[in-house]
């Protein structure tokens, strides 16, 4: 039976010639990831299993990014617990303040994921690495604990939806608009339990960073994973960062899909997801004046250097509107440094933005930009659920870095083309 990209990776890691949708399998893991919120629960379960050591100290990764730098005493206790665990088990890839970045920007940057890998992470946006042709998916803390102990995880083999991309994106339109457009089309459970596989000539018209953003939000359509076909850009990106050999999997010609969508990238416009679901998408021909109080540019979805560059293009020589707080969060130390060296930070600060150390902070309503009742934010983050960034009566509008930057300048949700 013909297989999808995802099914081929899973079969290879289960030691099987073939698998089919619905089959329950046990697979070998190439990487197990956790953060400062999910790892403490996993560490407790790991100890309960009675495991003496992690299955492979080079394949376990912990990143202190959610409430780090420690937002309060309880957060400090959680990070301390992770630090002590990683010291005890000699975990190679433990990233603390000073080295850490937002996990899903950090792992690709450090070359910790290559095409064909199977990665589980106790963070729902672990699906990001599908951008590099890996199977990666979010799990909970118990799965993380068992993964750390055994190097294995159980999966139900998913069926898939195929997205055939063609054409090129227009000015100020980026990966974020593509994925918001898709979620608007299929809904927040449109890909529930399934893979979203991205193929076609349009893939090569997207940068690796656009693909990371698209795969990152596959979970917002309910998907198990999002995955892109590997091309020359992927290979160049990975080879620059890792010496590991890898396999680029392609779906069989006659693989079966639950649905196939053809998407012409040139027809996609700047898209905004209105409260309180990522599927509530609108384009600017449907958006009236909506005043805002805050802009957040960052997160695992849109904290890449390319995202900051797009925001800087718009903010250069302009000022953030009165009564708008603009918060910019480079996703990793390397991105931060590059933004410093290339003058982006100067542009942001002169425009009236603040620039923060890497953290997930405001995206999940942790700290560093919490909203009061009645306040509205335009954010390049990934969720706009009730209370996501603060009070239950606050609102989050999800958008691209270009739209967020234009909105900061305009003081209302704004199309970058309108400036």
């Amino acid at each position: 039976m013909a297989m999808t990209m995802t099914q081929k990776i899973l079969a290879a890691h289960a030691g099987l010639d073939k698998v089919e949708a619905g089959q329950l399998i046990l697979v070998d893991l190439d990487r197990v990831l956790g953060n400062d919120i999910t790892s403490p629960v996993a560490i407790r379960e790991f100890d309960r299993i009675g495991a003496k050591a992690v299955f492979d100290k080079d394949k376990v990764t912990m990143v202190m990014d959610h409430f780090a730098p420690n937002k309060d005493i309880k957060a400090a206790v959680q990070c301390k617990m992770c630090r002590e665990f990683c010291d005890k088990h000699e975990v190679t890839h433990f990233y603390d303040v000073g080295q850490m970045g937002i996990e899903h920007a950090l792992l690709p940057e450090k070359g910790l994921v290559v095409p064909g890998d199977v990665v589980i992470g106790a963070d729902s946006h672990t699906c990001t690495y599908g951008a590099l042709g890996a199977f990666s998916t979010g799990v909970g803390s118990t799965d993380m604990a068992c993964g750390m102990a055994t190097g294995k995880a159980w999966f139900k083999v998913p069926s898939a939806i195929k997205f055939v991309l063609k054409g090129k994106l227009n000015k100020f339109v980026s990966g974020k608009d593509v994925i918001l457009h898709i979620i608007g089309k299929i809904g927040v459970d449109g890909a529930l339990y399934k893979s979203m596989e991205f193929v076609g000539e349009g893939v090569s018209a997207l940068t690796v960073f656009d693909r990371l953003t698209i795969a990152n939000m596959a979970i917002e359509a309910g998907a198990k994973n999002g995955i892109f076909e590997v091309d020359e850009q992927t290979e160049a990106y990975v080879k620059e960062r890792s010496d590991r050999k890898f396999t680029a999997y392609k779906a069989d010609e006659d693989a079966v899909y639950d649905a196939v969508y053809e998407i012409d990238l040139s027809t996609i416009k700047s898209t905004v997801a209105f409260p309180h679901l990522p599927e509530n998408t609108k384009t600017f021909d449907e958006i009236e004046d909506i005043k805002i109080d805050q802009v957040v540019i960052g997160s695992c979805t849109n904290g890449h250097y390319k995202d900051l560059e797009e925001a800087a293009q718009i903010l250069k020589g302009r000022k953030v509107a009165k009564r708008v707080r603009a918060i910019i969060i480079p996703a990793t130390q390397d991105i931060y440094l590059k933004a410093l060296e290339n003058g982006l930070l100067k542009i942001f600060i002169e425009a009236g933005c603040i620039v923060s150390t890497p953290t997930c902070g405001p995206c999940l309503g942790g700290y560093m930009g919490i909203l009061a009742a009645g306040e509205r934010a335009v954010a390049t983050t990934n969720r706009n659920f009730v209370g996501r960034m603060g009070d239950v009566a606050s609102e989050v509008y999800l958008a691209s870095p270009a739209v967020a930057a234009a909105s900061a300048v305009a003081g209302k949700i704004a199309d970058p083309l309108s400036l």
């Binding site: 999910t38 407790r44 379960e45 055994t150 529930l192 198990k224 009730v386």
Partner: protein, 164 residues
Amino acid sequence: MKFTGKSIKYGDNVDTDVIIPARYLNTSDKKELASHCMEDIDKEFKSKVCDGDIMVAGFNFGCGSSREHAPIAIKESGISLVIAKSFARIFYRNSINIGLAIVECDEAVEGISDGDRVEADLDAGVIYNKTTGKSFQIQPFPEFIQKIIQNGGLVRSIQVGEIK
């Protein structure tokens, strides 16, 4: 596995941010998590939930974050079973892994109102609404998952050598 309790009902897309808001994730203490369970969607939940109660919801229950704190908070608050039209996949896995019983059944969700007395027998594959007298058939879990549940979760499955 048999369950009995009153129904506490919600709509579609109940996300993990309303089940347990991230501002409380600076702890993994079960009791503390339970004390904030559902508070951003239902301020009354804490006062009305009794041991054994059954949560009923629409499509895509538990969507969003991978936080295992969500099923932990629900279980610790006394809920014995969640019946939904569908579950977000990470929540589904997490529930099985920590031993919170869940089941998908469109008809039962349609046929149960908030506050109804509900009985469920997952082995027999039946949900019974005592208030209305209607019953609903459910699909049993695949054997592999049944074993994890019977073992009392994934950790126990590894301890007994079911998963190596």
